[in-house]
Amino acid sequence: MESTRYHKLLAEVESTEMVLNMGPQHPSTHGVLRLELITDGEIVKEVIPHVGYLHRCFEKHAENLTYQQTIPFVDRLDYLASMNSSHAWVMGAERMLGIDGDIPKRIEYIRVLVSELNRIGSHLIALGTYGIDIGAFTPFLWCFRDREHIMNMLEWASGSRMLYNYIWVGGLFYDLPVGFEERCKEFIDYFKPKMAELNELLTGNEIFISRTANVGVLPLTTAINYGCSGPMLRGSGLKWDLRRVDEYSAYPELEFDIPVGKGEMGTIGDCWDRFKVRIDEIEQSVHIISQCLSRLQSDLKRTQDFDPRARLPKKIIPKAQDFYMRAENPKGELGFYFVTDGKSEIPKRVKARGPSFCNLSVISEISRGILIADLIAIIGSVDIVLGELDR
């Protein structure tokens, strides 16, 4: 085992170079991530990521629990976007059962509504903490202030602030509370000018641009070869969004654009492009939410007898098969691979493919020969969540 690339790299460190540990307790690594740097002065020669500090045996747990019981664990994968993760998991189970066509339209629209709200919340964290990494403190407070409204609304719907367990196989935990649509509309009206303010403060800021433009350029072919997805891949200029490619849930009926990096401030695929893609995606999510709201307030209006638990299957026993379900999370492609035997309520094997896992693996490729300060900018632009990376 001593002949691995890692051991070779460490054996070849020269006397003028220094091995430096960044993390696991370091605010700019966004969680318990350890990066081993081989540095020559301020220049980074090599980055070796060490992950696994937050490993909570998700796949092992999923082999011992039913599909419904696993949803809380799925919520804890990407804890900033629990709705999106459980949406993907639930769709996987429904497709294996073959009931994905029977889900009432109102339920599909509520699922998309809460997922998109959660997507905005997740992107707000990415943008706010990115500002802090670069040295801008105010946007962080603004982003958290606005995210608080989203948290309050989702808490109102599900009873929990971050880990919702709201989307269930075959339905929902509860219908939206009375008045949710109106409250959500108010939030949208409040939020639109706030985004313009954020853009003025951060996106077009000269210092911010000089710290991020032309830094950490990720060429498209590299991004694809490393399995990058989500804003990482779109930041490199490719229109690839699973909401459009797979057309799942209510997305085929909704209108939205797929923002891509254009290299406006520097090169296509630099840190600023990835940041801008997230800013634009928030705008698109707001657009999706307003469409959902107008449908939920008109033809899909709540009725007295509407029961979101009416179609919950009594027992979830899919027939023996393999199934890979993928969906677009805020961070990228979240995939669940199920192996079932057709006899039990418990899957034989579950594999979670986290977007952060692949997105982070490209970091040593794009960080050779840069300054240590730029490495901070690159890690922030990847937007990792360790909960889903380590599973």
Partner: protein, 165 residues
């Protein structure tokens, strides 16, 4: 390209024995490939302009249970230009002896995604990937004993003096 066309393309290129079997009952059909040929098959599928599977979505190591003692790796390929997907599988009998792990050729040269995913499969299922450049544990500590996602796994009682529950 449809599933059947991909199948005949592979047979034409590598001969009929490259495909050991196929699973077409589920919603996602899968091809079972001869283990020794998997790296070449993947390279062909990536570079052939009729298929262009340039994106490896996921790679999973699977232990198919103690009755059969079969280990496998499942590859989920996606083609960005054609918006298609394909599932490939390799599998092998292995008697679960500790000295030697079940081993398959690495595809990390074809897709860099596989680098970390194969490390994960090695870490959790105990599958070795021949010629992998950096086969170390990734999620668990380097001195962990055993492979937790194996069906016969028993956790060690103590890890560095800490009781394992």
């Amino acid at each position: 390209m449809t599933f059947e066309e991909i199948k005949s393309l592979l047979i034409e290129k590598f001969g009929a024995d490259v495909i050991v079997g196929e699973e077409t009952t589920g919603r996602q059909p899968a091809l079972i490939i001869k283990p020794e040929a998997i790296a070449d098959v993947c390279l062909e599928l990536r570079d052939n302009e009729k298929t262009w599977f340039d994106f490896l979505a996921s790679l999973s190591g699977v232990d198919y249970g103690v009755e059969e003692d079969i280990f496998g790796v499942v590859y989920h390929l996606a083609s960005i230009p054609y918006k298609t997907s394909l599932t490939l599988k390799v599998r092998k009998y292995h008697d679960r002896s500790r000295e030697e792990l079940p081993s398959f050729p690495t595809v990390s040269e074809v897709w860099k995604t596989a680098d970390w995913h194969e490390r994960e499969a090695y870490d959790l299922v105990g599958i070795r990937f021949e010629n992998h450049p950096d086969l170390r544990r990734i999620l668990l500590p380097d001195d962990w004993e055993g492979y937790p996602l194996r069906k016969d796994y028993k956790a060690q009682e103590y890890y560095n003096g800490i009781k394992v529950d």
